[in-house]
């Protein structure tokens, strides 16, 4: 693990773009957490003295939205939700994907064939439609967003983990564990999964932006978070509605969303180049 941490640091040092991305990401995260503390506005408070859809000013740094709420605070508070959904959604898909892939890869044979065939069938489903449908039909619930997003994204993870597990299973230390009578579930938990961490971390980094994107997509359709709570996707949707009057309401959330996704993608690419031996250049 130490060596791995070392190579992550090396990877970042050798790639100034990735380092900049990491710094930007950290800055955005800290700003989202701490930024709202330093202004007097709350994300759902209406400024009755100011104008609605106001341009940026000393009073409202990003302007106000069509209801007269401070956009600086709303953008940052929305960012908390977007980033949190990204992390939790990734975690859900990670747990399902690693467990499924490790079991399929370790057990092998018919079970493996059946499990991966099921993944193939699920892959072919237009999942986003089912999610849209789910939201349209059952109303909007943040928990449902998590579950739906996590349930889609585990497929990739399961495939990657299965491949890695099959390679690991052929290694001597696994044979040694089998010979010394360690139970299969213990081998998977103690010998296979810890060795998968490198690959899993890399693909998790690339999953986070996908999840954030998906949440933004759903919120944009009005199917994700519900007012007065907000996320970047919901803010972009609001901003798009009256962009002719107040372009700031579209541009600031779009900027935050785009910058976060860009940083995460750049970081994930760099980590993959550095840590995943199969993706050498």
């Amino acid at each position: 693990m130490n060596r791995r941490a070392h190579s992550v640091a090396d990877a970042l040092r050798q790639r100034p773009v990735a380092l900049a991305a990491a710094v930007a990401l950290l800055a955005i995260t800290l700003l989202c957490i701490a930024g709202p503390w330093f202004v007097d506005w709350r994300f759902d408070a209406i400024d009755f003295d100011g104008t609605w859809s106001a341009p940026p000013s000393a009073m409202h740094w990003f302007g106000t939205d069509s209801l007269g709420r401070d956009l600086y605070v709303r953008t940052l508070v929305g960012g908390r939700i977007s980033l949190a959904v990204g992390l939790v959604g990734t975690l859900v898909s990670l747990l399902i994907g690693v467990a499924y892939g490790a079991v399929a890869g370790y057990v092998g044979g018919r079970v493996d064939a059946l499990m991966m065939r099921a993944v193939d069938v699920l892959y072919a489903l237009p999942f986003l439609f089912l999610v849209i449908l789910l939201m349209l039909l059952f109303g909007r619930h943040l928990l449902l967003v998590f579950v739906a997003i996590g349930a889609i994204n585990w497929l990739d993870m399961a495939r990657i983990v299965r491949g890695e597990t099959r390679a690991l299973k052929a290694r001597d230390f696994v044979s040694a564990a089998i010979v010394s009578g360690v139970s299969p579930s213990r081998i998977v938990a103690h010998h296979i999964v810890p060795n998968l961490l490198g690959v899993v971390v890399v693909y998790a980094t690339l999953t986070v932006p996908q999840v954030i994107l998906m949440e933004a997509f759903l919120s944009f359709l009005g199917l994700g978070v519900q007012a007065p709570a907000t996320s970047w996707g919901a803010l972009v949707a609001d901003g798009a509605r009256d962009m002719e009057l107040a372009p700031a309401a579209l541009i600031f959330p779009a900027l935050f969303l785009g910058a976060s996704l860009l940083s995460l993608n750049l970081l994930g690419d760099a980590l993959r180049d550095a840590l995943d031996p199969r993706q050498h250049r």
């Binding site: 069938v121 489903l125 349209l136 944009f220 785009g258």
Partner: protein, 305 residues
Amino acid sequence: MTPALLRRLLQLLPTLLLLVTLTFLMLHAAPGGPFDDERALPAATRAAIEAQYRLDQPLWQQYQHYIGQLLRGDLGPSYQYPDRSVADLIGAGLPLSALLGGLAMLLALVCGLMLGAMAALKPHGARDHLLMLFAVTGLSIPNFVLAPLLILLMAVTLQWLPAGGWSGDPSQLVLPVLALALPQIATIARLTRAALLDVLQTPWIRTARAKGLSERQIIWRHALRPVMLPVISYLGPAAAGTLTGSVVIEQIFGLPGIGRYFVLAAMNRDYGVVLGVVLLYGVLIVVFNLLVDLLHAALDPRVRL
């Protein structure tokens, strides 16, 4: 038809059946029905309507009936527009959606290949870095963010292009196609660059260089085919992404395609239309994936179906 192809076609059926079943169950499990109107219908009228659409029957009978109907190639009636069938409604929206999606895919393929090749021919230079930064940026800006930004820039501020609507004027399609294509352009450019870099290091390219072929001949006659392989495999997911994206893009630009019907129909609990559209998308995606595999097999002699 070869046995391999037939087998592949048969393998599509469980996926589609699963899709229809899931959608069917979701629709019927959801609260509200197609005839829950704000003004209450007299009980007898309502019962008569529900009986006509078989909503009074047990769920499994409705399911059986629907599957039977599908097997006869009938998508059934719309629940909201009594005089129109689902096939009618889909037929009305499909040409525009197909035009939008087809143009976007074509643009993505052409631009993606070109930009990727431009980056790979002088790797690690300024042009390469700039193009790849552009590609990651393109990947990172979702099309529903790009679309309003494009409208803001091109329609509201510069007033070069119309902001939306559809009256048959091609200029109304420029922005939607662009918004839909950009993420795909970025992905295809990245794939092309990586594949071309790999291929240019192979012995057969070195041989071609040693023979004294021009760079143009090397690219077009020797490098292009292997480079196309990963790009072609990506076309399946790209088609799925374009279809999904078109739901939002049609909303934003006010285009009367099937994406808009889909959202409206789900809101109105129009079971027939929702199932029909989901099935159509499902069929399009699996058939497209199959075509991609066929093309792959045709281009790469090592691959078999």
